[in-house]
């Protein structure tokens, strides 16, 4: 989908130190509105946040999950998944570690 849309992104608590403490980010995204486009908008404003969510190739880090509504975007079209107006993105770290 192309155009301009407002997208709401929910930020996990561990990353709020990199979004000036914001729990939610309401972003205006232009052009093809995909998960990548949303992350690019966040990354331009919050580079430290961007580096924690994506590596330098632009790939989502292995243990970072992004949900579009109730769907993990990896089970859709990954970061190429289209985001529709009114949909929310939620970033959640995997339950992993030891």
């Amino acid at each position: 989908m192309s155009g301009v849309a407002d997208v709401l992104v929910r930020v996990p608590s561990l990353l709020r130190q990199f979004t000036d403490g914001h729990e939610e980010l309401l972003l205006t995204v232009e052009g093809p509105i995909t998960v990548t486009a949303v992350l690019d908008v966040i990354g331009a404003q919050f580079p430290f946040f961007n580096r924690r969510v994506r590596d330098e190739t632009g790939a989502l880090r292995r243990y970072v999950n992004i949900y579009l509504g109730y769907d993990d975007v990896r089970r859709l079209r990954g970061t190429d998944t289209t985001v529709l107006p009114g949909q929310e993105l939620m970033i959640i770290q995997s339950v992993a570690g030891g």
Partner: protein, 365 residues
């Protein structure tokens, strides 16, 4: 906060960083954990110039890896807005782990080297705030044949030469030792004499699993190597290597330390074997040579009677004193310090997470 003539001890673990200071290298004031729940596999203490800078390579399974630095003994940390280490887009690679942060000689102020996974060497000229990929090694024709050790495919050791700014040695598992004599523009494999018993040709040009190399303090062309079975010395800047394992209880291990000031003195911490990665007989001991590996002296005073954990390749260090301090940590989170060149040890900390990296230096404020 360190005091005048203190020793700063930095302990990187699987779940954070601890910093210690001591004026006698026996009693320590520890702070930490810094960076709780992040791996600290690499630390550099840069005492050149008029300030002490602590560099740390941090790694989170979730949030990735980067370099931060502190100029106030860990009271605050700075992460540059532009990533300190970031693969150029044309490589298609992404940084996995920073294995080595090595300040260059005093004659090269501001220069800091990094060894990383995937196998790569990086150079900073601004004190470790930003690094540039060394293209000579990245584009090396051997690259496709380098393997990954159990810990990952990394350039785990970078040794600039204090005698010659154009000479740098790098070690990797598996790949072996490489040397540049043109400041990093080109690299040549330098493994003649080092065994790769696990390969069809046991003495290949490259492919050895060199665990650690160290440079002699007084003779820059002399190097020591702890191999995946085999302990070696080179007297010709790695052109050739000879075994110095005679007198050791085992030739396996990860640690190789050279004295910071005195030629001929080095330390290893043997592990029984590739297939039995515990100290020989479960008895932890440090072995020191004062004659460049011709003979070894065992020391276990102050160390536990039983220890079944390994000491990883960067989990050991000397400080920078003339009467060198020797430090190491185990995978069960115990850290030991010696104020007498590795003859006797005292426990600095216990029950920390796995110790990945230890560095120490004499500092002043």
């Amino acid at each position: 906060m360190a005091n005048a003539a203190s020793v700063l001890l930095a302990i990187g673990t699987k779940k954070g960083l601890w910093l210690g200071t001591s004026t006698d290298r026996t009693h320590w004031d520890l702070t930490g954990p810094h960076f709780l729940m992040q791996e600290i596999p690499s630390i550099g203490i840069d005492t050149r110039g008029d300030r002490t800078r602590i560099l740390v390579g941090t790694r989170s399974e979730h949030w990735g890896t980067t370099v931060l630095h502190s100029d106030d003994f860990g009271a605050s940390w700075i992460e540059p807005e532009r990533a300190a280490i970031s693969f150029p887009a044309d490589t298609g690679a992404a940084l996995e782990r920073i294995w080595q942060l090595q300040p260059d000689a005093a004659s090269q102020p501001g220069v800091v080297w990094a060894g990383c996974e995937p196998i790569s060497v990086w150079k900073s000229t601004d004190g470790g705030e930003h690094f540039e990929l060394n293209r000579g090694l990245w584009d090396h024709p051997h690259r496709t044949q380098w393997g990954a050790g159990y810990g990952g495919a990394a350039a785990h050791t970078v040794l600039p030469s204090p005698a010659d700014a154009q000479t740098i040695h790098v070690a990797m598992s598996t790949g072996g030792v490489y040397r540049s004599t043109d400041g990093g523009d080109s690299w040549q494999a330098r493994n003649q004499g080092i065994s790769a018993y696990f390969m069809p040709d046991p003495l290949p040009e490259f492919g050895q699993c060199v665990h650690k190399i160290a440079r002699d303090a007084g003779q820059p062309e002399r190097l020591y190597a702890q191999n995946h079975h085999g302990v070696y010395r080179s007297d010709d800047s790695a052109d050739s290597w000879s075994s110095i394992a005679g007198g050791l209880p085992a030739d396996f291990g990860f640690v190789m330390l050279a004295h910071p000031c005195r030629s001929g003195t080095a330390w290893v911490i043997p592990i029984k074997a590739d297939g039995e990665r515990i100290p020989p007989d479960g008895k932890l001991a440090v072995h020191r040579t004062d004659d460049a590996g011709e003979s070894w002296t065992r020391a276990d005073s102050g160390l536990p009677q039983n220890e079944y954990n390994a000491v990883l390749r960067d989990a050991a260090a000397t400080d920078t004193a003339e009467l060198a301090g020797v430090y190491f940590g185990t995978r069960d989170g115990c850290v030991y310090a010696s104020a007498d060149e590795g003859s006797t040890f005292t426990e600095v900390a216990s029950h920390l997470p796995d110790v990945l990296c230890v560095r120490a230096a004499v500092v002043t404020v």
